[in-house]
Symmetry: C2
Amino acid sequence: MPSPLRLGIAGLGTVGVGVVRIVQRQAALLSARTGREIVISAVSARSKDKDRGVRLSEYAWEDDPVALAKRDDVDVFVEVMGGSDGAAKDATEAAIAAGKHVVSANKALLAMHGQALAEAAEAKGVAIRYEAAVAGGIPCIKALSEGLAGNEISRVMGVMNGTCNYILTRMQDAGLDYQTVFAECEELGYLEADPTLDVGGIDAGHKLALLVSLAFGTQVNYDALQIEGIEKITIEDIQQAADMGYRIKLLGVAQRSGRGVEARMSPCLVPAASPLGQLEGPMNMIVLEGDSVGQIVLRGAGAGEGPTASAVLGDICDLARGAMQPVFGVPAGDLAPSERAKSATPAAYYLRMELADKPGALAKIAAVLGDAGVSIDRMRQYGHDAATAPVLIVTHRAAQEALETAIAAMESTGVLASAPVALRIEDI
Amino acid sequence: MPSPLRLGIAGLGTVGVGVVRIVQRQAALLSARTGREIVISAVSARSKDKDRGVRLSEYAWEDDPVALAKRDDVDVFVEVMGGSDGAAKDATEAAIAAGKHVVSANKALLAMHGQALAEAAEAKGVAIRYEAAVAGGIPCIKALSEGLAGNEISRVMGVMNGTCNYILTRMQDAGLDYQTVFAECEELGYLEADPTLDVGGIDAGHKLALLVSLAFGTQVNYDALQIEGIEKITIEDIQQAADMGYRIKLLGVAQRSGRGVEARMSPCLVPAASPLGQLEGPMNMIVLEGDSVGQIVLRGAGAGEGPTASAVLGDICDLARGAMQPVFGVPAGDLAPSERAKSATPAAYYLRMELADKPGALAKIAAVLGDAGVSIDRMRQYGHDAATAPVLIVTHRAAQEALETAIAAMESTGVLASAPVALRIEDI
């Protein structure tokens, strides 16, 4: 049997501890499957003394993850610290410079610095693998970059933040408003320390940025994405959408259009009967569409100790077996620059707004939409209080720009009581 | 760039032509992704002159797939002929003996001769890859053997024959009986030349046999599976199941129990609201459960030119990148013998039977179930003609053996007008 594959694990939070547990519990299985022993040489975290409920005494300890990354007895640097900059970045760079492979669960780091890291890794002949960075335990990076390698990818979609999916489905199931469910989530510890990362779509956007690069052969560029969170979604939106046979999901969509690769992470309406529409609770789902394979749907837990550690171990096993490939599917130098593409794929839109209850208000809104070239499929004004009238409009397929023009014009009509909510109805 | 990877394709049916088309259409993409040109050296099929709608003149032609397998200008033998013996087996063996890697879509061959072929391949240091043999375009072999390599797999389930799923969902949607939908499928060309391969569960069983081996580290052994087809499922069963919130699926289930690995391919009831229950039409779904990852669900087209060829190309790309691993996850010599395990996992059962309309008939059936230790959850006798009374029973969880004892005893009560239908209600 070849020499053991030696891990240095930076970060002993939920995921890091999960990785340690699997390496300890499944040692025999891992070596049977990879032909090598997989061992931990050293670990690093903020506090050495904290009881993490797992045996660590046999491993060397490093206070500094950079020192860990450089250790001679480490072949693979496992980065499960998190954070787009600072120690995680320094240590990952140090590992690459020292000729170590990197297995990372850090979507933020890769979304912000993926291109530079990939160039550095490929120059050194080492791998960066990041299955755990996207959709937890779902092996979607592998499916996209390996299983579907014979396909030209036409579209990638997904629900990539389980907390947002939990919030939206909980609102629907319990008829609760956003603020109430958000408070529940805070209490349950479901949210990131900065909850905007979750509900603002940023965490999910980081994941989408990685999928876009792999799917379309472009440089990772988080800034090229359109990002919108779920903060403005009301229980009314959810119920109105349900009445029309839809569900609201924080959905990532990336597709190639005549104007480049367009990629959005935003709340969308999807058919209630579709796999995405049926996804309940804190789950993730990735939808991959290729010219040969058609549509593949992958579903699983998007977070948590076990699922995320499972993904880390999948990458480690691949490295143990000697698998090597470019970080983003093709050599980093061949990745096309990634610009923000204005959405070129038309869609139907759901619009909800409050109108001042004045004569002619609805007519003004309709006129503004018509002027922008957005035609109306359905429109209704429903039960309202004295001062304002809630209005719901579903448009026919329209370009995003036309819709934005219409919304800007609505705002100068003087009949809006509040900013309209506009949600794309995604064809799936 | 390293030397091209040269393919010899044996079989130019739907899948073989699909592979040729992808290699031609996506040449640039394939070489960007793998770092090597992927080229076809030679092809083989029964009739050289048949117009297959694809350019073949630039490739060498072999009438004999064995000759193709041995060619010096072939690195990878692509076996898309089918058949568990004969030419496919001879050619695969010849390819291995000649030191060629094998990419196969042939589930029957691998299910019947997988162990011997794996031993031969590993002795020669070549790979056998077979993503296309299971669930068409869904990269489930990869997910199981690589993505989930850090998991002890507890259960594998799936709908693996799209035609059967089409038949069952079409029966339900249109309220048609089995014979009518079967005849429709024959007319549409959906069935294998020997339709028993589809509706008898044999084709799906071959696929399950491969998944079992990979999941549980056992030698491939089709004969260790319990196989039951969908021929006895009536529209009445489907409607009764639907009334109780279930769908009937031809479901493969393999799980480790105290008595070994039990594996069944049989019609089962699954909750209508589950991903498996929601799978409509000619689709496949694979459910993988591991100790760390929890449950992963993979869905896609299980057959057809594009999806199956996509899976073949995924394997070819892996070989082009130099990926190597044992055929069934661990070295063939380390695979445990695979014996047929009597089902040890209890389940609730759905029973439907016709009773002779005599006093005391129902009581006799109830007594027989009680004597076998099978307790009844629900029982009802419903609308019936003069001579016989249809009876529906849902049991509490019972061992398969207890149920079989009860059914055998029922048959000697003299009150059955026909053999009972017994379907497992699978927990998912």
